[in-house]
């Protein structure tokens, strides 16, 4: 084998020469007009895709809003009914103990008279005790 040795293969000028384009490798000249046309076509396709996606997004948003409105109109009466039922039940539970208090408040004669008599007895007893203490201390 009388080809170049590995060291020779690797030296930088050889590397440069090896990587250089050969005449047979050169590409045909690019068609600038074709590039511009492809870019324009791509842009219009992109614009069409943008418009389509925007339309789809709008349609989806409208459907979502419609579904929300229907759901709300269906659920609202049920929710109101449930809330009213719960409030009524709570009121009924509170009314039972409250009715006893209210009944006493409506007929106050016996308890108030009893309280009055008790207060009077306490006051009389207190006055009697003070008189006895005063008599003992002065005698």
């Amino acid at each position: 084998m009388n080809g170049p040795r590995d060291g020779e293969l690797f030296d930088e000028p050889t590397l440069r020469r090896a990587l250089r384009l050969e005449a047979s490798e050169l590409p045909p000249p690019l068609d600038v007009a074709a590039i511009a046309a492809r870019a324009a076509a791509g842009r219009s396709a992109l614009a069409a895709a943008s418009i389509t996606s925007l339309a789809v997004a709008c349609a989806a948003g409208a459907v979502l809003l419609g579904l929300g409105a229907v759901a709300l109109s269906t659920l609202a009466p049920v929710l109101v009914t449930d809330a009213f039922g719960a409030a009524t039940a709570t009121l009924a539970r509170l009314a039972i103990p409250a009715s006893t208090v209210l009944a006493i408040a409506q007929e106050p004669s016996v308890p108030i008279a009893a309280l009055g008599a008790l207060a009077l007895a306490i006051g009389y007893e207190y006055a009697q005790r003070r008189e006895r203490v005063h008599a003992v201390s002065t005698s």
């Binding site: 690797f10 590409p27 600038v32 590039i35």
Partner: protein, 184 residues
């Protein structure tokens, strides 16, 4: 969009910016862009497509081009990215394809003088070794030895720090040397 859209190309020799049309940019740089595509992909069939898509992207993005930077580097950056993208896609396809038919190039059987044949064989070995390098090193080796960019210029094109490019060039050359020593 007109094909004569004006780009302003940086000319280091004059240290001024000179407006160039897109058509001029294509004319001036298409061989170099094609070369980058060919040397990075190692695929004669794919290189024209990579070149074409490079200029297509350049055409679409010309308004984002920074005229204070060299047009050549901007185009090489796009070409490098396109070539890398191509080789990644091709690698994915090859991984998924069970019946990979060896897409080897048909050797030129035309009679050539012995010296020329040896030189051609050496070039083929080197190109094959470059194509076999990992993508990371292949890009810097191609930009250094095909495009003859400096380390700083490679850093600009690839967006990697210059120190990293220096290290990658050293490693790439070491891998290349190993590949050439190991080649029959």
């Amino acid at each position: 969009m007109a094909t004569s859209v004006a780009l302003r190309s940086f000319s280091p020799a004059m240290a001024t910016t000179a407006p160039v049309t897109f058509a001029e940019a294509v004319r001036d740089h298409q061989d170099e862009v094609f070369g980058v595509a060919l040397r990075i992909t190692g695929d004669r069939e794919a290189a024209p497509d990579v070149t074409s898509s490079t200029f297509l992207k350049a055409y679409r993005a010309f308004d984002r081009y920074d005229p204070s930077r060299p047009l050549r580097h901007w185009l090489l950056r796009i070409a490098t990215n396109e070539a890398i993208s191509h080789i990644r896609t091709r690698a994915r396809e090859l991984r998924h394809r069970a019946d990979v038919d060896a897409a080897s190039t048909v050797p030129d059987t035309a009679a050539v003088p012995e010296q020329e044949s040896i030189a051609r064989e050496s070039r083929a070995r080197i190109r094959s070794a470059v194509t076999g390098l990992p993508e990371l090193y292949r890009v810097v080796i191609v930009l250094r030895y095909f495009n003859e960019l400096t380390v700083d210029e490679i850093a600009q094109v690839t967006g990697r720090p210059a120190s990293t490019v220096g290290v990658q060039l050293l490693r790439g050359r070491a891998l290349l040397r190993r590949a050439l020593e190991g080649a029959p």
